[in-house]
Amino acid sequence: MSPEIKLEDAFQARIDDEQKIEPKDWMPEKYRKTHIRQISQHAHSEIVGMLPEGNWITRAPSLRRKVGLLAKVQDEAGHGLYLYSAAETLGISRDELFDQLHTGKAKYSSIFNYPTLSWADIGAIGWLVDGAAIINQVMLTRTSYGPYARAMVRICKEESFHQRQGYEIMLTLCQGTPEQKAMAQDALNRFWWPSLMMFGPRDAESPNTEQSVKWKIKRKTNDELRQQFIDITAPQAEYLGITIPDPDLKWNEERGHYDFGEINWDEFWQVVKGNGPCNKERLQARVDAWENGAWVREAAVAYGNKKEKESIKVKTA
């Protein structure tokens, strides 16, 4: 047996034993690469996710809604930071990670390539998009890589307010005028299917799933998570009195789950490939923010250096 294979066996044994892997531990190169890809993709999603919601901060209908949305968007920036830090423990720099995002080499969640056309979309995003994210993230609090798992615990603590503020927005609209309720229905119509796509391709089309489950990166498959989301969300839509835009959605007593219609996978792959309604706009906004902020970063470094020099002078004087 080669020493490499021996190490891999010992590694797998640790995973099977539910031990966490920490940054300086030996790990297979593919485990490292998979994590860099997945954690950074997750980090990018958090910060690109601020853009569609940021679009409504100045137009929030009340101060109460505005402080809530501001706090949520600020949380998402924090989530991005926790995750970038976790990715950096694997030996990639923040600059490289940003570069991968800005050049389009790295992906972020496709859901953020859809526009936010009305205030109800902010409600739908909090309810559905954060709701779907929570299901994925709760699973990831038990992932095998320590820094990723710890970031997830922190994130999950903050997420539930996001979903509740979203649902409260929907509830208020649904109890309002017929026009307001129609707005909520329209937002649900547009965000329902993209939310289901957030869980990724079907298991049969997801070649990485098996390895991810074996390494306990994921503990449930895409299809299992999607079903869990639908089962939780369908009654919540019913409570709001609005209709999920899927004629095949129906409780299946025998399965103990909701049956649902076919997802438009063609649309999914189109958006992943960059042809969604807002792909270009989102990426451009990120690149602009990075480039226009360059002078601030440089000035901060210069100021930091100057202060350090002064403190050395004082010490040696």
């Binding site: 926790y82 950096e88 710890r150 440089e298």
Partner: protein
């Protein structure tokens, strides 16, 4: 001009240094590592740590330390570092056999 040129060359790596953040959640408890962040200097690291890690009153005190100043043990040496303690069961109270009727010991 030459001086400023000199300065930028020392900052070729545009990335700010990495700091580790430790938070005391309330008085009476120790500071605990919560995560890390980049900042241009220690003062900014403190301010950012405040914004990122204590938005919901998670702390009453913050320490930041530049990551490069931390010396860590190597997992490859874990055996020689930590295994010697494994067979020293006589360091634990249960090693010593006393009659059960004895109280307060």
């Amino acid at each position: 001009m030459s001086e400023s040129k000199n300065e930028t060359s020392t900052q070729e790596n545009s990335q700010w240094p990495l700091y580790e953040v430790f938070i005391r959640s309330k008085n009476g408890l120790e500071h605990r590592h919560v995560g890390s962040l980049h900042a241009s200097d220690a003062e900014m690291a403190l301010e950012n740590a405040r914004d990122v890690y204590t938005r919901r009153q998670e702390g009453v005190s913050i320490w930041v330390v530049e990551s490069k100043n931390i010396t860590a043990s190597n997992p490859e040496n874990s055996g020689e570092l930590f295994e010697p303690a494994k067979d020293k069961i006589y360091r634990h109270p249960t090693f010593y056999e006393l009659p059960i009727e004895l109280k307060h010991i």
